[in-house]
């Protein structure tokens, strides 16, 4: 594998050809927020939180979908980037109905977490207050669209890892919604294998185990790497020593 050299925040670093910018950035110990991307799933470039600035053109590119290239020079936390990330988080909080205090993921939610990290302490835009349903027809899980940020991790994991493709997206723009089968109640889905992978990868309180109440839901992202390692490398090692996901 060929080695490449590039510059991140004025430091020279080296990586492997074909590596994503995101993984190279994280290897340097730099924290970059990602809400749509999850290690192990196909990069999507949807949330735009991982945007970085190309020094040559001043253009912004998502680190998750961009391949690191020899000679590139990027900034990860310019004033503009931080400002935009904050605005994007504000847009997300305004889009649906996030009431952390009464949410199953309170305290463990990635959206809530990123807001705290960036210091997004209030939303300057109108809360859109959409009318959105919950679907609790499944025996084990429930979805609350009020908390969904349309990252489509659930769609991706269900399709590429579980191979069921129960989830998809319908509608467009701000009216998009994730659906099960052809917008049938989840409980009646014949493709869903009840594996729960979607629940585990969901960054917010949208997907949760049934019966969990405020701040009770714990998710394990490490399972994904565990399965993928097992499948691809025939290794069955828990990366986090089997800890309870985040924090």
């Amino acid at each position: 594998m060929a080695v490449i050299t590039m510059t991140i925040n004025d430091e020279l670093v080296s990586g492997v050809e074909g590596q994503s910018l995101l993984s190279l950035i994280r290897e340097q110990g730099i924290e970059l927020p990602t809400l749509c991307h999850l290690e192990g799933l196909e990069a999507r470039g949807g949330c735009r939180l991982c945007l970085v600035e190309m020094q040559s053109t001043q253009r912004l590119l998502p680190a998750c979908t961009t391949t690191a290239q020899e000679g590139m020079s990027i900034q990860t936390h310019s004033e503009r980037l931080v400002r935009y990330r904050r605005m994007i988080l504000e847009l997300l909080f305004a889009e649906r109905n996030h009431v952390c205090a009464v949410c199953v993921m309170n305290g463990r939610c990635e959206l809530q977490d990123e807001a705290a990290k960036i210091g997004m302490d209030h939303v300057r835009y109108d809360y859109l207050v959409p009318e959105l349903p919950m679907d609790a027809t499944h025996d084990k899980f429930a979805i609350d669209h009020n908390r969904c940020i349309l990252c489509t991790r659930c769609v991706s994991v269900c399709d590429s890892v579980e191979g069921a493709h129960t989830w998809d997206v319908m509608g467009r723009g701000v009216n998009s919604r994730v659906i099960t089968d052809l917008n049938q109640p989840w409980g009646s889905s014949r493709s869903c294998t009840s594996c729960g992978k979607c629940v585990q990868v969901c960054p917010t309180g949208a997907l949760a185990n049934k019966g969990s109440t405020v701040a009770e839901m714990v998710k394990r992202h490490d399972f994904l790497q565990w399965i993928l390692d097992g499948r691809e490398k025939k290794q069955w090692v828990m990366h986090n020593g089997g800890s309870e996901g985040r924090r």
């Binding site: 999507r44 735009r48 961009t66 400002r83 935009y84 305004a94 467009r172 701000v174 998009s176």
Partner: protein, 573 residues
């Protein structure tokens, strides 16, 4: 069919046409059809039969002649005379035309649209040369005007490299909006490694009010097929897709027929013109999503996936349909290929400006005397287009702005009317060439309201994949709504402007990246109108109702009002 068969077909058709004393061309394009062209054509045919003229007069249904607002349009071609254009033809006047002009050589003066009008004189028809002249449903008509000769020429006399080089040399740039050099794109696809390659013609045309591509597809379908086939030969593709907007059933029908005819005659399909080159074209019908005009979303749609853009790189030229190198060009871009190959790159490059070569089709609409479809040389000024071709701003109105580029474009004020219409000059004004929408607005238009209209369009059409566009457009629209209903606070303007830059710089695809353009361009040239709305609660153009008050004013007024009324005004909702 061989090249010689093609030439024989052309000769036969020309002989046939010369044998008729008179041809009555009747436009059968969507605008004229919707103003009654079908009954006009029937009346013409009936009159010809009634007067026993069938042997010497033919009635031909053609494509668009241009001055669509004056339709139905009819052209009289009498042997040995200049063509005569008739406007606003009714079945009544159709009979009159046959009786007086065709039979007695007495043109019906009050229905004539003079052919020396600047509307015609200032145009330069390259792409639309056949439009309004040939019957789009007859291959012979097209072949008689040298149709498929350019393909035959390319296949026999040129290597794929030479074709690409010729297109590069012509300076042709993409007509789908961004103006990327076409030859360069072709060469990239040609050089891209890969067994299988594809060619796509983008006929999604989603700009509200634009109909350049529809016209070309309806009026001269074979030119498009021939252009695509030449592209297929140049880049090494054997399969083409024509992506037609779902709202264009007539275009799809004519293209379908043209493809079948061309295949039957060996002009498409396997071993084109008995060469070793094979090229199939299939039609894909869109389902009415603006974003599916964006190339990566369009390809997803062709592959049967949700029509959503994906990040570039990889560009389609490297990895497009089913991960194969794919050439995607706009329909009008393909419409330029045949003339370039037929007349040479130098001939083409002699039209236009240093960096924008050839012509551009615009759908001229709004407050000018003659609206319609026009093809003008690049570099023509907006003033010439409006005053000469459009016949000036309609009586009793005064010019305020020209909007180009639709929801991705901007508004150009009077002081910039002498700007040449080319990619760079328009961009410098914060407008864009776009695909060719051109709306002339007068003083009765309110600029924040115009911006709101386009923002609403983008809100509806955002695919929802990325956050800035999905939610940002909605928030921008909300602020514009507040500005136009009187409830905006002074701080809103800054929030709006900040959102505009953020959405522009962070969105995934061109839809989001350009959605703020109408706001930014009207803020640039008509800022005082925004300020009047916000600070004085006044709409200078008198368009906005201004029925609401800002929240902060409500804070003071509301408790009292509620107690007076005993009910709650819903304005805070």
């Amino acid at each position: 069919m061989k090249r010689s068969d093609l030439q024989a077909m052309a000769r036969r058709e020309l002989d046939r046409q010369q044998a008729t004393r008179c041809r009555l061309l009747c436009c059968a394009s969507t605008p004229c059809l919707s103003s009654g062209a079908a009954t006009v054509q029937q009346a013409l045919e009936q009159a010809v039969t009634d007067n026993k003229l069938d042997a010497e007069v033919v009635v031909v249904s053609t494509g668009c002649m241009g001055p669509c607002s004056r339709g139905p349009m009819v052209t009289v071609q009498l042997a040995g005379q200049e063509d005569t254009y008739y406007e606003n033809v009714t079945p009544e006047s159709a009979r009159q035309i046959v009786a007086e002009h065709v039979m007695a050589n007495q043109p019906v003066a009050d229905k004539i649209m003079p052919s020396d009008l600047p509307f015609f004189a200032k145009q330069h028809k390259i792409v639309l040369a056949n439009s309004g002249v040939i019957d789009p449903e007859r291959l012979e008509d097209y072949v008689a005007r040298d149709g498929y000769a350019a393909l035959a020429h390319a296949l026999r006399e040129m290597t794929p490299e030479e074709v690409c080089a010729e297109i590069s040399k012509s300076g042709l740039r993409g007509r789908g909006g961004a103006g990327y050099p076409t030859g360069l794109k072709w060469d990239l696809v040609r050089k891209a490694p890969g067994e299988k390659k594809y060619v796509i013609a983008n006929g999604d045309e989603g700009d509200p009010g634009a109909y350049m591509d529809r016209t070309l597809m309806e009026s001269d379908p074979h030119r498009l097929l021939e252009g695509m086939a030449i592209a297929g030969y140049a880049v090494g593709a054997e399969q083409g897709f024509l992506y037609v907007r779902g709202e264009y059933p007539i275009a799809a029908k004519r293209l379908e027929k043209a493809i079948r005819t061309a295949e039957r005659r060996g002009l498409l399909g396997s071993r084109v013109l008995e060469s070793s080159f094979s090229f199939r074209i299939d039609i894909r019908i869109g389902a009415g999503a603006f974003v599916c005009g964006e190339e990566t979303a369009l390809m997803a749609s062709i592959m049967g996936r949700r029509g959503q853009p994906t990040p570039r790189p990889p560009y389609p030229a490297q990895s497009g349909l089913w991960e194969c190198p794919t050439l995607i060009n706009n329909v009008e871009t393909f419409g330029n290929i045949v003339p370039i190959i037929a007349h040479g790159a130098d001939w083409f490059a002699s039209v236009g400006t240093a960096k924008s070569k050839g012509s551009k089709i615009f759908a001229l609409a709004g407050k000018v005397n003659t609206t319609g479809l026009i093809e003008v040389p690049m570099g023509i000024t907006l003033r010439e287009v409006i005053d000469d071709i459009g016949g000036g701003v309609a009586d009793g109105f005064s010019f305020k702005a020209a909007q180009t580029g639709g929801p991705s474009g901007g508004c150009i004020p009077a002081e910039h009317l002498d700007t040449p219409m080319d990619y760079e000059s328009l961009r410098a004004l914060g407008a864009i060439m776009g695909s060719g929408g051109l709306i002339v607005m007068d003083n009765a238009s309110c600029m924040p309201d115009v911006a709101k209209f386009f923002m609403e369009f983008c809100t509806d059409e955002s695919c929802g994949k990325c956050v800035p566009c999905r939610v940002g457009t909605v928030q921008m629209h909300r602020i514009l709504e507040r500005i136009t209903n009187g409830s905006a606070a002074p701080a809103d303007l800054q929030i709006l402007q900040d959102l505009c830059t953020m959405v522009q710089e962070t969105s995934l695809c061109g839809l989001g990246q350009s959605a703020p353009n109408p706001v930014l361009s009207t803020l640039r040239f008509y800022r005082e109108e925004y300020e009047a709305h916000i600070q004085r609660h006044e709409c200078p153009a008198g368009v906005c109702k201004m029925t609401e008050a800002p929240t902060l004013e409500l804070v003071e007024a509301l408790p009292r009002r509620i107690r007076e009324l005993g009910t709650i005004p819903m304005s805070l909702a």
